[in-house]
Amino acid sequence: MSIIEVRDLYRDYVTKKGVVFPKKEVIHAVSGITFDVKEGEIFGLLGQNGAGKSTTIKILITMLAPTSGECRVLGYNTYGEEKKIRHRINFIFGGELGVYRRLSARDNLRYFANLYKLPMGDRDKRIDELLELVGLSDKADLRTETYSKGMIQKVQIARGLINNPEILFMDEPTVGLDPLAAQTLRNIIRLLKEQGKTILLTTHNMYEVDELCDRVAIINKGKIVTLDTPNNIKAQMEENEEIQKHLEQVKLKEAENLSRITLEEAYIQLVRSSVDKEAKNES
């Protein structure tokens, strides 16, 4: 069953340049895309900067109006029936914005728990669970202006999960996260999928898409280039001559590095063992 339906979606941005005789400039961010996301699916939107991924997500989370076309989330139109959608979805944007920097992580979450109308009795328990999940329990009462980029991103993740959403939209959620935190987020995404949540995410990280997504749409200049499972997309391209040549070169390099682990794997192991050591010393 489709839980997100996008039909022939267009979105333009109109900007004005000049002071005396301002000239209108129209930027076509999304140019006629159509896709569906099924319930319980992790769906990826891949594309370069400016391809139209974030605009598509912003229309789906009811932040922007479409110029034309239709988006339906949970069966409701995102422009006109947004009140029926907003309490059932949430979103996580990458980057270090989107938090009240003079408030603590706990106060930020408490405020959004109220805005998402969580029952008072469940609110503090839910906040504690989320702080634990993202690993911020011990720093929860410090002002977020003292946080690193990655810690702010963790507050964003916790905020995005505050209402236990049926659909979670993520716009480059691992931007600014160190490999360990990125892996934690990927684990959270898997956990959410196990709980039957639907996730739509945009990312530049191909490894992430390959590892997490059930299906992927590749967007370029506001149009969908292809939409399929990561394996099918790879299979489609395997017959391409240029890719074959490239693959052979890659295979040669891989053969050289076969016995080695990746730098990311080494980093995660080193950080984990140092954390374990510290914990042992403390106990």
């Binding site: 932040m63 947004e82 309490h87 938090v99 405020y111």
Partner: protein, 260 residues
């Protein structure tokens, strides 16, 4: 019940966020002192000798307006820059309730500046603060607070729609002090500006406050001013409601919730 919780939590967040800013502390604590000294010196050799009406009240209202106006305006922009404006706008709670909570938060904090003005005036100039009709003064003060809040909400909606918030705020800050008669009666202004003055609820509520400070009795003129004050408050509240319906659509079409 849930609306009340949204209003209260927005109010608390607003007070915590705002009071943490040093610039706001300056507006709240130092600005009333400067306004008091400035007005006292201006009125020193004038024919008007009502200290409470023009110096204490004038400086208090200037500080109150400065805090409410710049805090409300600045906050919309700060929320826009930190990407929280879009988060609260698309939350399941009513944006009207959120903004109402924020404006109440600002007003509660700003009221402290009025109190400080009275303290500064008394300490610096040793003049008695005389209010001839205290019950009516309290009623007028309440109406003034409501008129400031309703006007702030109206302005805040415009600011949600536009990214040029600082320009707009600087354009209305001082003119409103002069046009609404914060520091002198509007009757000294040209006739055509008096028509503009009468369109603002603060003009009427300030007139009410001044009447209650200077006269122990309540006459027909007092009730006419009160009717106009309440009438303009209702008009601005209705206009704000209409404006909200408009901006709820426009901000999503024009993508003005975030910085471009």
């Amino acid at each position: 019940m849930k609306v009340r919780s949204v209003v209260i939590s927005s109010l608390v967040v607003q007070i915590k966020q705002t009071y943490a800013r040093n610039m706001y502390k300056f507006c709240l604590l130092v600005s009333p002192l400067m306004s008091t000294i400035l007005l006292a010196e201006m009125y020193r050799n004038s024919e008007h000798d009502n200290f409470t009406s023009y110096i204490v009240l004038g400086a208090g209202l200037m500080s109150l307006w400065g805090c409410i106006c710049f805090s409300s305006a600045g906050d919309i922009n700060r929320e826009r820059y930190s990407n929280t404006l879009s988060l609260i706008f698309i939350s399941p709670s009513s944006f009207q309730a959120i903004l109402f909570g924020k404006v109440i938060g600002n007003t509660i904090l700003s009221l402290f500046s009025v109190l400080l003005t009275a303290v500064y005036s008394f300490v610096l100039y040793r003049q008695p603060i005389v209010i001839e009709n205290m019950p009516m003064f309290l009623v007028s003060f309440l109406i003034t607070i409501i008129s400031f809040m309703v006007f702030s909400i109206f302005v805040a909606y415009i600011l949600v729609l536009s990214r040029r918030t600082e320009i707009l705020m600087n354009c209305i800050d001082v003119p409103l002090i002069l046009v609404c008669g914060f520091v002198f009666p509007i009757e000294v202004l040209p006739m055509w500006t008096q028509y503009i003055s009468k369109a603002f609820p603060m003009t009427w509520s300030i007139k009410l406050m001044r009447q209650s400070i200077m006269s122990p009795s309540v006459d027909g003129d007092f009730f006419i001013s009160m009717t106009y004050a309440i009438g303009t408050i209702i008009v601005y509240a209705l206009l704000s409601n209409l404006l909200y319906k408009l901006i709820a659509k426009r901000v999503r079409i024009e993508a003005s919730l975030e910085m471009a």
